[in-house]
Structure formats: C-alpha cells, structure tokens
Symmetry: C2
Subunit: 171 residues, 2 copies
C-alpha cells in the first residue's frame, strides 16, 4: 500500500473530522473530549503551523497537526497530534505521519518535537515513537482522565529536529 502524506485542503475536512472525532470519542489518547463540528474543524486545522493528511487507496486515512508547544522564548519546540482511521490502523499510516512531521520541523522553524501527554496505555503510539527515536523525558502521574474517570499516567516524549541531529553530529 502506497501512503502519501500531503498538506490538507478544504475538500479533506469531512474525512479529517471523522478520523479526528473517532479518536476524541475513544477517550484514550487525546486531551480534547468534545467532538469538533465541521465549522470548528475548519478554524482549528487552519490555525496550525501545518495540518497534513495521509492518503492511501485513494482515501484520507490519517491526519496530523503541528504547532508551537509554547509561546515566545519556548516557541521553537513543536507539538503534534496524530489520528489514524480505526479501520486503517496497523498499516503504516501512523508511522508515515510521524516521519512526515519530523521532516517538516526545520521548515517551520522548530528545533524539536515534544509530546506532552502520551497516554501510558497507548502501546501502539509508544512503540512507534520509540522506534522513531523519541526519548521518553518523564512521567506525569495520573495526568490523563479515562472515560471511566480513572486517572492514568502520561509520558512526555521529545525528538530533536533531524537537521539539529546532523548539526550535532558534525561537532
């Protein structure tokens, strides 16, 4: 299966909305807990540094957003969120999205990519991030509230921008 990751367009919005809200409703990965209306999607995905989709078999099967993790003097570190359609999981879409986001960091002025809230039960995401070279920075105890209102740990992960790694290697 060939996977193509590209910037989203207006015509992708309904597919993005479906994939995104599926993850929201599952309540085991995203902080957000309220599904987005199409109008909310329109402004939310337009407000990112980058929103890109993964297409395979002629359909949008995944989406990611990239934006500054903080403001001002800490705004050069990026944060990202990824969503893959439930029926497409395990087929490499997530990996294509994460790899693409890493490749886009420098072009958007970011020196690294930080995840603030990787839910500790999200084994597929954790395995993928570690495979792609993300470092687990630490654990926030009870940082995520599941659907049953129990609290579960979240992990913080970090990956320098690939260009930064090359610069470091040259020193």
């Amino acid at each position: 299966m060939e996977i193509r990751v590209r910037p989203y367009g207006e015509s992708d919005l309904m597919a993005i909305q479906r994939i995104w809200n599926e993850v929201v409703k599952a309540g085991d990965a995203f902080p957000g807990e309220t599904p987005l209306s199409l109008q909310e999607c329109r402004s939310y995905f337009a407000s990112q540094s980058l929103t890109a989709v993964a297409e395979a078999d002629g359909r949008v099967q995944g989406v990611y957003i990239l934006h500054p993790n903080n403001i001002g003097r800490a705004g050069h570190i990026a944060n990202a969120s990824y969503a893959v359609a439930a029926e497409a999981r395990g087929s490499g879409i997530g990996e294509a999205l994460v790899r693409h986001s890493l490749s886009q960091l420098a072009a958007h002025g970011f020196t690294g990519l930080q995840f603030n809230a990787v839910v500790s039960t999200n084994k597929a995401a954790i395995a993928l991030y570690e495979k792609l070279g993300f470092t687990r920075i630490g654990t926030i105890p009870g940082g995520y509230r599941l659907l049953d209102d129990s609290m579960i740990d979240i992990f913080i992960y970090f990956h320098p921008a690939p260009e930064e790694k090359r610069k470091a290697a040259k020193k």
Copy 2:
C-alpha cells in the same frame, strides 16, 4: 516581614503589570517575550483559574497565576507562573506564592501542579521548587531561547496536590 497572599483585584493591576513585565523583559524565565499593556493585563489575569498577589510592607511585591496545563482529559493538572519584584527577591515572597498555589490546587479541581519550562539557569526557582517537594520530571534540551538567542535547557517539574498526597499516604 509579614507576607500576605490574596486574590488580586482591579486596583492591583498596575503593580502586577510592573512586576510581570520586569520578568518578561529579563528574558530568562518566562516564555512570553512581549510586555503586556494594562489592557492585556486586565484580560490575561482575569482569565486565569486564580491570580493572587503577595503583599508585604503595604505593597504588592509578587504575583502568580494558576490555570489548567492542558484541556479536557488532561485539564486536572494545573500550571502556574510566579513573578517577584526585583527589589523584593530573597525575602520569601516567591516561597509564599508557591506555597499558596499548592494550597489552592484542590479547591480549583486540580490534582497536581506541573511546570513546563523552568529555565535551567534559574537557580533560585529550582532551589525553591525542590525545597517545596517538586519532582524534576525531565529535561527538554535547548527548550528556551535567551536574550542573545542562544538555546538553553528547560526542566519539567511536578507536585501532586497536597490532598492527593494525604490520600496516597492513607492507602
């Protein structure tokens, strides 16, 4: 010197603005790099879960803000920022602010307090947080841009809400 920490009021705004912008301009602690106008202060400090000031010798000498560190399913962890007037540093104002913020967590529905960007050169803040029982969760390499545009590490710190600690001790 007696220090009293209390919720801010409109009449504190000019003192808060001066103290806050002093830290912004120093460019070695806050992510924000643009001083706030009085009107921006008015909306910014009103939008927090809590804004409180430290008064001593009849003057406002410090301020802190408390708000959710994230949205939705990760919104029960708080984040805070503290500012102490330059001429008042080393007199216990900062400690009074941090202690007060910890005491207010449960009342605002927070189970813990997380700092995302403690600049690694901010020795006074680091010593204070560690004295008060904060745990260093990890380090984001080069996460802060100093005034000379060099990048410096930031630390992530966490402290459970005091009530949570008591509950854990009872188990």
